[in-house]
């Protein structure tokens, strides 16, 4: 098989960036043998500078340096900022993996726009830019002829957008609903299983690294709301943004409510209801497919032909999410 060289730029080298780099180091030969691609990372951008190497960066080395908070010690460290890299270094695909800011969509929004304007395809795990300016970004991608792919923005490793694209083509999708935030699911599961308060469950989630130091983004339903916007626009053909979603988080859910639900053969889960643009805690029958435990995510897509399809899997984690990033990358390469 003839090998095609594809240059990648990674913007944001946190949990997902490092997870992606580790999987690429591990799967590089597999991808070359099975898909005929030689994926080469030529730049990795962090807040205060970038590692740039046109020949390709040694990924094992860069992951180790980053884990030791010592990326600046890399021999190819430069003070180039992410926008400088986008403007100066030509790549085939830009991976936008910076953290989400749901109010402004920044800095990811600018990274995506500038990359698309330069005709570079973008693969992102960053929800905020899409939750804020979904249709504008789609238009920009269309006009530039570059692809914008975002499977990793919703449900981590769960294939949802690509499932619709590649396996449910003939179906009309009537509704989509599910558990889209692993932190909330962990907390609610813990409260139900061990009859502990939300504070205790949350503290344990933080100790295990499942919840952020400031978990409000997850607990207040904002993260789920952003994902609902992306699914509404991409699977149900809506044209909505975050402000259109009614969001109620789980912070006021009591152990007594969870106990009552259990007594009546139900559990309480934070559900993103895409058709209704609603995020709220809901009663889920104990034997329902959406009753999944721990940090798992689960989404049911209801269609006219295939009927209900439920996808369950890890909704977070660097390596797990990279599965979705690779799915988009391979798709882009195949379509070229």
């Amino acid at each position: 098989m003839k090998t095609k060289e594809i240059n990648l730029v990674i913007i944001g080298f946190g949990v997902i960036g490092k997870g992606f780099a580790e999987v690429l180091a591990d799967k590089h030969d597999f991808l070359r043998a099975n898909y005929g691609v030689d994926l080469k990372v030529t730049a990795i951008c962090e807040r205060d500078g970038s590692v740039v190497c046109k020949k390709g960066i040694d990924l094992d080395n860069v992951v180790e340096l980053s884990l030791n908070n010592n990326l600046k010690a890399h021999e190819n460290w430069t003070t180039l900022k992410s926008l400088d890299v986008i403007n100066k270094i030509r790549s085939d695909i830009v991976l936008e993996l910076t953290p989400s800011n749901i109010e402004t969509g920044q800095p990811g929004l600018t990274h995506i726009k500038e990359s698309l304007k330069r005709g570079m395809c973008v693969v992102t795990s960053n929800k905020a830019p899409l939750a804020v300016e979904f249709s504008q970004l789609q238009k920009l991608a269309k006009n530039s002829g570059a692809e914008l792919r975002y499977e990793a923005t919703v449900g981590g490793a769960l294939p949802l957008i690509n499932l619709r694209k590649h396996a449910l083509q003939v179906n009309n999708i009537n509704s989509v609903q599910g558990i889209l935030n692993g932190t909330c699911n962990y907390v609610l599961t813990k409260m139900a299983d061990e009859y502990v308060s939300m504070d205790v469950a949350l503290k344990e989630a933080q100790n295990l690294g499942i919840a952020e130091a400031d978990p409000s983004y997850d607990i207040n339903g904002i993260d789920t709301g952003a994902k609902v916007v992306i699914l509404a626009n991409s699977l149900l053909g809506m044209d909505v943004s975050f402000k259109d979603v009614a969001v109620t988080g789980i912070s006021d859910v009591t152990t007594e409510a969870i106990e009552l639900a259990r007594k009546h053969n139900h559990v309480i889960k934070l559900i993103g209801d895409v058709e209704r643009l609603d995020v709220s805690p809901r009663l889920v029958p104990i034997n329902h497919p959406l009753n999944v435990s721990g940090t798992l995510n689960a989404v049911t897509i209801s269609t006219d032909i295939a009927r209900d399809i439920t996808v369950i899997g890890p909704g977070a984690g660097g390596k797990e999410t990279s599965s979705s990033l690779f799915s988009d990358i391979i798709d882009i390469i195949r379509s070229k």
Partner: protein
């Protein structure tokens, strides 16, 4: 006229007899009783019977309501005559302090609260209340509007069914 009635019965001794009584009292001739015992409570029961006329059926329905029997569907000569759904919700808030009877009365204008289960950790803290509400299919929108109105006004967190 031939009537098929679906109802949900508590899984306790005597509840079936209790449910059949209004039918025999108003001249119904019971032809079949199907019990669906799948470990669920309430147990789903389907009763087939013949009655003289509409008036007899109305009397049976009225007495069943008095017996607090949970009717889910009635078919008359094989055609749907009446169909109900049970919605389960949980309210979290100061439900008892904020006139629980008034809350139930308002819900009963659109549906019928068939059971209520309350957990109060202490008088100062918020209580959690689970309600099962029977509602005619045609009245679900109105019921939802009523519930949302109550939650907004009394500052309850609402947890709805899927």
């Amino acid at each position: 006229m031939k009537v098929d009635m679906k109802l949900g019965l508590k899984d306790v001794p005597g509840s079936l007899l209790w449910a059949l009584e209004p039918i025999s009292l108003h001249g119904g001739n019971i032809v079949s009783v199907l019990h669906s015992r799948n470990g669920k409570d309430p147990v789903s029961v389907q009763i087939g019977f013949r009655v003289k006329d509409q008036k007899s059926l109305d009397l049976i329905k009225k007495d069943m309501k008095k017996h607090t029997i949970h009717l889910t569907e009635i078919l008359v000569e094989g055609r749907k005559y009446y169909s109900k759904k049970t919605l389960s919700i949980i309210f979290i808030g100061h439900i008892i302090d904020k006139d629980v009877l008034e809350t139930i009365d308002r819900i009963n204008e659109a549906g019928l609260v068939s059971s209520i289960d309350v957990l109060m950790p202490s008088p100062e803290e918020k209580s959690s209340v689970m309600l099962n509400i029977d509602v005619d299919n045609g009245n679900i929108k109105r019921l939802n509007k009523t519930i949302l109105g109550i939650c907004k006004e009394k500052q309850f967190l609402l947890i709805r069914s899927l």
